[in-house]
């Protein structure tokens, strides 16, 4: 059962009945832009999807929480989806995996957002650490050979 902030269960019921998360969905739009998100629906209680699969019926603006049910080969699983509807369009969405089975956790990770960021370097002396991980140190023979080639190239 889902409710929106105004407690409107009728619309909520329709959305949750229609919202079935299946393993192949990768098309979540996680941006703040007001572009429609295509959701695969199993059941169209209110209105029928047009050829693009989008629900045509207008829903009340607001925030919704949905528990999507799906069946993995290991059994029933749930995915929690929080979405914001603005003028019939999903303007924001968060997917929260609820998987209990290891395989389902991995599959849900497929469409939980990968974190993308530009990183900065900090000097090793300024950081609390006990080990460093990166490419392996190359052996002396390798380094010597590279140096030899470089000096040959210079001459």
């Amino acid at each position: 059962m889902i409710v929106n902030e105004q407690g409107n269960k009728g619309i909520a019921a329709a959305v949750v009945a229609g919202l079935v998360v299946v393993g192949g969905i990768v098309g979540w739009s996680l941006s703040k832009k007001e572009t429609p998100v295509v959701i695969e629906t199993k059941n169209t209680m209110m209105g029928s999807p047009d050829s693009t699969g989008m629900m045509k019926t207008k829903y009340k603006n607001g925030n919704y929480e949905v528990m999507g049910d799906y069946t993995s080969p290991g059994g029933a699983e749930q995915l929690e989806v929080k979405l914001t509807l603005t003028d019939g369009v999903i303007s924001d969405i968060t997917v929260i995996p609820q998987a209990t089975r290891p395989t389902s956790k991995i599959k849900q990770a497929d469409f939980a957002e990968h974190y993308k960021v530009m990183v900065l370097g900090k000097n090793i002396d300024e950081v609390m650490l006990t080990k460093v991980s990166g490419s392996s140190l190359s052996p002396k023979g390798f380094n010597d050979a590279i140096e030899k080639i470089k000096s040959q190239a210079r001459s």
Binding site: G121, S133, S135
Partner: protein
């Protein structure tokens, strides 16, 4: 209780072993066992020495007996070969050597043949392998990680309860948390983040050290050239062989193909310092925005 650290050169790189609370341990004996085990691994699997099994298998066809530790490693390579549709392969040695990273470090590149398919060149039967077509195998992608696991087991069996095996950035932290800095491949005096590691492994791969001419040491067998775009990867996984293998796979195939098969954390860095990270790496990264 006191701690003990020792380091040595092995399989072409530097190793550091940290042992904690070792008052009851015969350290001289343990150190000797570790060094011997590393040398044994090198003698079997190195393509840089003419007395190795791998060298012999590159010189002629026929059936070869395998050491007892081979099957676990070959099983992993076989599985990842299938998952990556042949992009992650041990049959890459001839290509790397032709590009210049050969036994003598000539760094002179020459034309090479296409990389052979697994079934074309190899056949496995219990503890033996048939070389059907001479091929230089290279186990660089997962071999070091596997050796980290082997040494971890060895040290544990010798009674040490807290220790760290560091095979030059491929690390297993046993019973004690390590704070692992993620080396900035563009400036090795820096790190781009720090992650806590305990009872699991982190392995890092990057293109910054082993490079020459137009090449670095990670090759795409389909193009015959070094990979382009990704500069560094890290993987945290329950064992080092898996972490090591996956850190190379990330250069070769999309993340999704690996995420559906294995449970692991990853960090990928491109040439513009853009990072793609799983949850486990997120909090440890240094960035302008979160």
């Amino acid at each position: 209780m006191s701690d003990h650290k020792f380091s040595f050169e092995g399989i072409g790189t530097k190793w550091i072993i940290d042992l904690y609370q070792v008052d009851q341990i015969d350290l001289e004996d343990l150190e000797k066992k570790v060094r011997q085990r590393v040398e044994e691994f090198d003698q079997n699997y190195s393509r840089f020495r003419t007395d190795s099994l791998v060298w012999q298998m590159s010189q002629k066809t026929g059936w070869f007996d395998l050491p007892s530790d081979a099957s676990k490693m070959l099983d992993s390579y076989e599985k990842l070969y299938e998952i990556t549709e042949g992009k992650f392969t041990p049959l890459i040695g001839d290509l790397i050597a032709a590009a210049g990273y050969d036994r003598l470090y000539s760094f002179k590149s020459e034309v090479s043949e296409p990389v052979k398919q697994w079934n074309e060149a190899l056949e496995r039967k219990s503890n033996q392998i048939q070389i059907k077509s001479p091929v230089m195998l290279d186990f660089g992608a997962a071999g070091k990680g596997y050796l980290v696991d082997i040494i971890t087991d060895l040290i544990e069996k010798n009674g040490v309860k807290k220790f760290c095996v560091d095979g030059s950035g491929d690390i297993y932290a046993f019973g004690q948390t390590q704070k692992v800095g993620l080396e900035n491949p563009f400036d090795i005096t820096q790190v781009v983040g720090v992650v806590d590691l305990e009872n699991e492994s982190i392995c890092g791969s990057a293109t910054n050290r082993r490079k020459w001419g137009n090449y670095h040491h990670i090759f795409d067998p389909k193009t015959g050239r070094s990979t382009v775009g990704i500069v560094a990867t890290w993987v945290i996984a329950p064992n080092a062989m898996l972490a090591d293998a996956l850190s190379t796979c990330l250069f070769l195939v999309p993340i999704e193909r690996l995420v559906r098969e294995f449970d692991f954390e990853f960090l990928i860095l491109d040439s513009q310092m853009n990072a793609t990270a799983s949850k486990g790496f997120r909090d440890g990264l240094f960035s302008g925005t979160k």
